[in-house]
Symmetry: D2
Subunit: 143 residues, 4 copies
Amino acid sequence: MIRHETRVRVRYPDTDQMGVVYHGRYLEYFETGRTELLRDLGLAYATIEAGGILLPVLEAHLVMRRPARYDELLTVVSFLRELPTARLHIDYEIHRDDEILATGATVHAFTTADGMRPVRPPRAFMELMEREMMKGRGMREEG
Amino acid sequence: MIRHETRVRVRYPDTDQMGVVYHGRYLEYFETGRTELLRDLGLAYATIEAGGILLPVLEAHLVMRRPARYDELLTVVSFLRELPTARLHIDYEIHRDDEILATGATVHAFTTADGMRPVRPPRAFMELMEREMMKGRGMREEG
Amino acid sequence: MIRHETRVRVRYPDTDQMGVVYHGRYLEYFETGRTELLRDLGLAYATIEAGGILLPVLEAHLVMRRPARYDELLTVVSFLRELPTARLHIDYEIHRDDEILATGATVHAFTTADGMRPVRPPRAFMELMEREMMKGRGMREEG
Amino acid sequence: MIRHETRVRVRYPDTDQMGVVYHGRYLEYFETGRTELLRDLGLAYATIEAGGILLPVLEAHLVMRRPARYDELLTVVSFLRELPTARLHIDYEIHRDDEILATGATVHAFTTADGMRPVRPPRAFMELMEREMMKGRGMREEG
């Protein structure tokens, strides 16, 4: 399993008149989470797209526990639990200090640049994920 | 069951650089769908809020089949399949002509205006839903 | 002068925690105004883009008078006051019943599809605008 | 003059189908710029609001020079050139490396929490600004 953390600051336009973050914005926080996970893995999403492969969202799921509020500094925790096959699954948790405010998941396809045909995950991506998962496994064994 | 249709036009800011609607925007289309469903039922969401009750989103789910594109006129079909108890469940389909482009669901709580305490669904809301569901059942029996 | 009206409903995600429409959303209302103006003129913006010409925004200006609120039905009034040369100027007013809530303007270039080179306004666009402006002048003369 | 820099990363939902940042998003980048400027000054906007004072936007102006693109790391430079009286003026520049991609400005009122009545700028805010402007002047005199 690969686990990655990144920070997002709740912006004013993320709030709605309930005085909390509009639920649709969490999908954008998930987006930031997986963007930074991929960058950290060594293969920025911008590079994947430049290589002619898209990862469109097939599914998105969100479960709210507690509302987030303006100007809070949240932690997006993103989880890659398995090597992708035809699809890439990513799980998310939104933390504020010790609390989990929301959880969610996205499922992605790998497609050609026109979004029309499925393709295999890029080899560089698979190799980086395998290497990282090895490290993860090693670390857990040591622990 | 209550079934309601409303139209949304894909706006330029709804698109992303894949040339299709950004997935997070579908949650906003669902929002428009349920807003117009409630208005049509005779109890606008703005009126519910003015009465001191909020319907925050607890869950949101989205499954994409085909991308929607700029300037397309989509139909949001919203379904209320059962009377709410502590929670309100709504299902959605996004249609373009004969195709279903996406499906989804949201789950809502009923809370006090500060969002802190759960409350019962407003009586007016329950009565309107019951009456509408009766009509729906009647129509199916006639058909 | 060409004057065009279209309706926009304030959506929940348009509001912020001040309980009013977030100022950035007005640029999206202006976008809807000019999209419908162009469609009404007989040359939808989607068709202009399909013809290989973009109208990127060079400037946007917004002046607020009174806040708009959730679920209000606003009228976007868009004004084309002169034939475009290298640039297209559009003015806007956001009305709620008899009140003007906001005014603004956008300035656009005409460019190639990659956004890199300026081009002349499409001939069809110029002809439609000229014809419409003639009508406008005629109508005023009759009045 | 107070000059402040902060970084923003262009997110996928900030782009549109032209393959560049949607112009309305720049107002959100300006928002991030002034939020971080105020925080740095020692008086976070969240604290100002908690003290019962709002700074609604009265005007927003944007001039584009070159488009920003997905995943670019931009610098928002915010300028407070003078002590606020009834209104607060802030200027902005969006930089990518050595290039200025966009410039802009916002004008804000100080109002009561319901947004209905103008109030004087909070004393703490004025004092912090005066002190910072003194420092700025001092630095320039030394240089």
